[in-house]
């Protein structure tokens, strides 16, 4: 029973750490500079 609880706690802790890392990584993907602006000919688009 003790080993089972330890396995569950380890799994849960790994999930917490993984979720934190995932959130940090994904949140940064929309914080970069805007994509290169194409030349645009106003009035023709």
């Amino acid at each position: 029973m003790t080993r089972l609880l330890i396995a569950i706690v380890i799994g849960a802790l790994l999930a917490v750490g993984g979720s934190f890392l995932t959130a940090t990584y994904l949140a940064g993907t929309t914080d970069s500079t805007p994509a290169n602006a194409p030349l645009y000919n106003y009035g023709t688009g």
Binding site: I8, A15, Y40, G43
Partner: protein, 319 residues
């Protein structure tokens, strides 16, 4: 061996179950935000537009008008909770090949709700005062209710009402309409001869604005995927008589712009639905099954059949 497999399955199940729960209630909240690095170009195009030409000093009627809007995020001014976008609108008389006007709007807003906030150099043309309501985007999970939108002509928030569902290019959207009844919002001084008052060198006339602006919003992403702006700006004298039309026209978004916005929105919508519904549900379900199976495997043991040695062994194995 069975017990080891049970422990591994239990640990993996706990990992998946907790990951699913955190993905839905923590990661999604951190990730589902409006981007800092926005870049998009949209075009509105109207036929039979009337406007006052400052160069010709007269009303020009029946022209084709194109309004091109370039929106770009100011990444350096943004934070984890705030985005700052700048939109440059350029109106072009395609019939006569002349520019009509341009307007720059820089606004800061909450990255989850889209609500405008005070921050760092917000402007609408020469106006640098407070901006309230919504501007470029609507809240994630837009509801079927009324919102306030910052009107860049009146320079104040106006009510925009929910007007039903609509499908734009196959995408389910909510339609919202901002109705502005004709009302004075400023004055203009100009030569009397321009408005038929030849006896007066200069006259001051009241500036009136009325509009019916329609927005089609993806309720999941909060993105505006279509817009139509039907506006009229006139000058009236003190008795309320219309003296000059500064602008009158209906400007719907071009099909090309709608397709581009919908294509971009579909990708965002799929990401949001994956991170808030599909993936968390899958992880939680798989985790729960694994956890239950692993617990059963690690806790279940065969009955000792009355053999004291076997019972002792089984008890030792279990603990």
């Amino acid at each position: 061996m069975r017990r080891v497999a049970g422990l591994v399955a239990s640990g993996l199940g706990a990992f998946l179950l907790v990951s699913g729960i955190l993905l839905r209630f923590y990661v999604a909240g951190q990730v589902v935000r409006f981007p800092l690095n926005e870049y998009q170009i949209t075009t509105l195009a109207g036929k039979d537009v009337t406007y006052f030409s400052p160069s010709l000093l007269k009303d020009v009627t029946g022209v084709a008008m194109r309004v091109t809007r370039t929106t770009e995020g100011d990444v350096a001014a943004g934070t984890s909770s705030r985005a700052v976008w700048t939109q440059f609108s350029y109106s072009y008389d395609a019939t006569n090949g002349v520019a009509y006007k341009s307007l720059t709007q820089r606004s800061a807003f909450d990255r989850r709700t889209g609500t405008l906030i005070a921050c760092c150099g917000e402007t609408v043309g020469t106006y640098t005062g407070r901006q309230d309501g919504l501007a470029f985007v609507w809240p994630h999970g837009t509801r079927r209710t009324s919102y306030q939108i910052f009107d860049t002509t009146l320079l104040k928030p106006m009510v925009v009402q929910y007007a039903g569902r609509a499908t734009i290019d196959g995408l389910p959207t909510y339609r919202f309409v901002e109705r502005v009844p004709a009302g004075q919002f400023g004055t203009q001084k100009l030569p009397g001869s321009l408005v038929g008052l030849h006896g007066q060198p200069t006259v001051t006339l009241d500036e009136y604005y009325q509009a019916a602006n329609t927005y089609w919003v993806d309720p999941v992403t909060g993105a505006v995927v279509d817009t139509s702006e039907d506006q009229k700006i006139t000058l009236r004298d003190s008795s309320g008589v219309q003296r000059l039309v500064l602008f009158q026209g209906d400007l719907p978004m071009t099909a090309r712009s709608i397709q581009s916005l919908v294509r971009s929105d579909r990708a965002k919508r799929a990401d949001i639905e994956a991170i808030t519904v599909t993936v968390p549900a899958g992880l939680a379900l798989a985790g729960a099954v694994l956890l239950a199976a692993g617990s059963w495997l690690s806790l279940w043991r065969r009955k000792p059949d009355g053999d004291p040695a076997a019972a002792e062994y089984a008890a030792a194995e279990a603990w």
